[in-house]
């Protein structure tokens, strides 16, 4: 029985993914202005910003965005997953990064800002501090765009089904920009 349910959930999510990737539409409509930030300070946020810009969507990128930066923002894109290299800024630690992310998510909810979660760093961004960040950001997202390399254990598939979060699984992280951009068109 459990296998059947899992299969149905997976099929539903895959259908959702193909829907988004095929250009027939997106699971949700997003509005400008859009702020791109990171949770975990990997360069995946910078990649998301670059790809979104290349796809023709003007965006603001702040790796360490704070609640005050959400003023007038309609959509918040969070590229999540940790990287040690990002913790070079003064005062940034694992604890401060988790707290900043919590504050951002809470403020976005309060201001009714759409939150799109992007997990495009693959398996690399699933363990250690990334685990805490993933478990914080993914359930709070209204749409998840995930490189399937980071979903080998089906975590995102299961979460998306349980929380009824649209999930777009992608085969290439570099596809994510066009898929995300479609939500703004």
């Amino acid at each position: 029985m459990r296998n059947c349910v899992s299969a149905l959930l997976a099929a539903a999510c895959l259908a959702c993914a193909s829907f988004a990737a095929s250009g027939q539409g997106t699971p949700l409509k997003a509005q400008l202005p859009v702020l791109v930030t990171s949770s975990g300070q990997s360069l995946d946020g910078f990649t998301a910003k670059t790809l979104l810009t290349r796809a023709g969507v003007a965006n603001e990128y702040k790796a360490l965005a704070k609640v005050a930066d959400l003023d007038k923002v309609k959509t918040l894109v969070i590229a999540f997953g940790a990287s040690v290299k990002g913790f070079g800024a003064a005062g940034v630690t694992a604890d401060t990064e988790l707290a900043r992310t919590r504050d951002l998510l809470a403020a976005a909810r309060e201001k009714k800002i759409r939150v799109i979660g992007m997990h495009i760093g693959g398996a690399e961004r699933r363990t250690g501090l990334s685990k805490e960040i993933v478990e914080l950001v993914a359930p709070a997202s209204e749409w998840l765009i995930v490189w399937d390399d980071g979903n080998a254990d089906g975590y995102f598939t299961k979460l998306a089904a349980e929380k009824k979060i649209p999930l777009t699984l992608i085969k290439q992280p570099l596809e994510s920009g066009k898929i995300l951009a479609a939500a703004f068109k």
Partner: protein, 570 residues
């Protein structure tokens, strides 16, 4: 000058890595393993095929310097994530006949257009502002001019062949491409050079790099002029201009390698030498200098008392490393004091008094499953000449910028400058601040040890800040605990602090193999010891070494079991 003949199996060679790989070259068998004993020559380096290129140079009558260049050239094709001709490096060269030890600094410099105020963490880490001026090619050429015997061009033959006909992708090669697709795939050059339709190639794929082969042909024919003032350099400058990068033709023409006097200390009757700052060899040398005042043998290897001592000593050496080690043209470095016996006494007194005045403690994240980001080689020839050479691109894949039409990957040396607070001193920023023309501090730290005026050991390593732990502890293992070379480099180590250059951290990483009761005692003593696998510092410090037996003259080469290096000899 003689030349090396082309490898008869170049087109059919496959790079399958295992603990022991046997390759047949021109009817001569050369074993490649983690540890080997040989009499006539030896190379320890980051890839079996690169090691074989070095051995081929030695067999052809080349010197250790020739072998080092041949190894480096092939390694730059086999490990493009780790090093290449546009990166930075340091080397110690021992001329056995002249009894002359020299140190060469071919560290890249910050471009003249550098403005620290305009940098962000992203900009210094990846992209067109991240590279320092290319340096390795000029360094390798200088090494060859000083002590090479074979024709320069012949040393590039293997590398050109592998670039032309294909780099066989092994597990590490494929893994390090895949894990960087998101971060580096946005750079067109890297994307085209290393991905296939936007995807990482699989293990077993052949990575053909025609542009790189053409560039290496120019390097082989023209030497460094091809890059510093020649057509390859012109392409680099044009690509920089097209993309808002900083490196100019003026930067390339101004770049110079520097021959420096090796720094020295003593450890239990051994003369210990390292490359001077901005190399960080002084750090492991300072550790040895302070450790000499303890009876480590009595403490017993990896006992609680031993590990505790190692941690306390390393704290002081690393704090000094961040406080003082930088470009000596820009800052005053009290190197004689740092390696003096009086200062060692002072540090031991501070340790005894429980004094350690670190300004800030920051914790980094964890989860980088990789091993190293640099590559060291140890080389010795039949005459006893030796090279201890470490090359790097900085982070994995350097800046991620591959110069259009050249296949040449640029470093991210700029990331190793500070634009923010120095976490050790609290200065904002301190000696490591970016400045035009400045050389950055590296954890590259080649060394050599001598006993009774005879070369005893060629040593070096990789693994960011773990490098210096990875050199100091194996030396102690061999000298204090009589371990053989392989046991010494493979024995579990203690590493204090997080790995990366900007964060101190306070975790004590006890590598697997250190017993649970010792771990418990370290925790009870107040050390921040995470559970196995949960430590934030994941780099172990990849060490390789050649030890010369004083009686027989044989060479014992060893590469750490947990590392990526291999050894071959004949």
């Amino acid at each position: 000058m003689s030349t090396i003949s082309a490898p008869c199996i170049r087109k059919s060679t496959v790079g399958i890595l295992s603990a022991s790989v046997f390759l047949i070259f021109a009817g001569q068998a050369s074993a490649v393993d983690r540890t080997i004993v040989a009499k006539n020559g030896m190379v320890v380096a980051g890839h079996p095929l690169a090691v074989e290129s070095g051995i081929r140079a030695l067999r052809a009558g080349g010197t250790a310097c020739d072998a080092a260049i041949a190894t480096a050239a092939t390694l730059s094709v086999m490990m493009p994530d780790m090093m290449g001709p546009a990166g930075s490096g340091f080397a110690l060269l021992w001329d056995a006949k002249k009894k002359d030890l020299s140190a060469i600094d071919y560290d890249g410099v910050a471009p003249k257009a550098t403005n620290a105020a305009q940098y962000t963490l992203e900009k210094k880490l990846r992209g067109f502002w991240a590279p320092t001026v290319p340096a390795n090619l000029k360094g390798w050429e200088a090494v060859h001019r000083k002590c090479g015997k074979l024709k320069w061009a012949s040393l590039w033959e293997d590398a050109i062949g592998y670039a032309e006909t294909g780099r066989p992708l092994d597990f590490d090669g494929a893994f390090h491409i895949r894990r960087h697709v998101t971060e580096l795939g946005i750079y067109d050059g890297w994307n085209k050079e290393f991905l296939v339709n936007g995807n990482a190639p699989a293990v077993g794929a052949l990575q053909i790099r025609k542009d790189l082969a053409a560039t290496y042909r120019l390097f082989a024919k023209m030497g460094s002029k091809a890059l510093y003032g020649g057509s390859v350099g012109d392409k680099l400058v044009a690509y920089m201009q097209k993309n808002g990068g900083l490196i100019s033709k003026e930067d390339l023409l101004a770049y110079k390698v520097i021959w420096r006097k090796p720094i020295e200390t003593n450890y239990r009757g051994h003369k210990v030498y390292g490359t001077p700052p901005p190399s960080a060899a002084v750090t492991w040398m300072q550790m040895l200098n302070v450790l000499e005042g303890y009876d480590l043998k009595a403490l017993k290897h990896n006992s609680f008392e031993y590990l505790n001592t190692m941690v306390e000593v390393s704290k002081h050496a690393y704090m000094d490393s961040y406080k003082y080690v930088a470009d000596p043209a820009f800052v005053n470095i009290p190197i004689e004091k740092m390696l003096s016996k009086d200062y060692a006494v002072e540090i031991r007194q501070r340790i005894a008094a429980g004094r350690f005045d670190m300004k800030t403690v920051k914790q980094a994240s964890l989860d980088l499953p990789s091993k190293t980001a640099t590559s060291h080689m140890s080389v010795i020839d039949r005459w006893g000449n030796a090279v201890s050479m470490t090359n790097t691109l900085g982070n994995f894949w350097g800046s991620g910028i591959v110069v259009e039409g050249t296949g040449l990957l640029l470093s991210n040396g700029m990331d190793w400058f500070d634009i923010d607070e120095n976490v050790w001193t609290g200065e904002k920023p301190g000696n490591l601040v970016m400045a035009p023309g400045k050389r950055n501090r590296w954890t590259l730290a080649p060394g050599m040890l001598f006993k009774n005026d005879k070369l005893y050991m060629v040593v070096g390593g990789a693994g960011a800040e773990s490098t210096m732990y990875g050199i100091a502890q194996p030396i102690v293992n061999m000298i204090d605990f009589d371990m053989d070379a392989f046991a010494a480099v493979s024995a579990p180590r203690v590493i204090w602090g997080d790995t990366y250059h900007y964060t101190g951290g306070t975790e004590v990483h006890l590598q697997p193999g250190i017993p649970e009761d010792i771990r418990a005692r370290m925790k009870a003593a107040g050390h921040n010891v995470p559970d196995i696998g949960k430590n934030r510092n994941v780099a172990a410090g990849t060490t390789n070494v050649i030890v010369i037996d004083p009686a027989s003259g044989t060479y014992s080469g060893a590469a750490a079991r947990q590392g990526r290096d291999f050894v071959s000899g004949y």
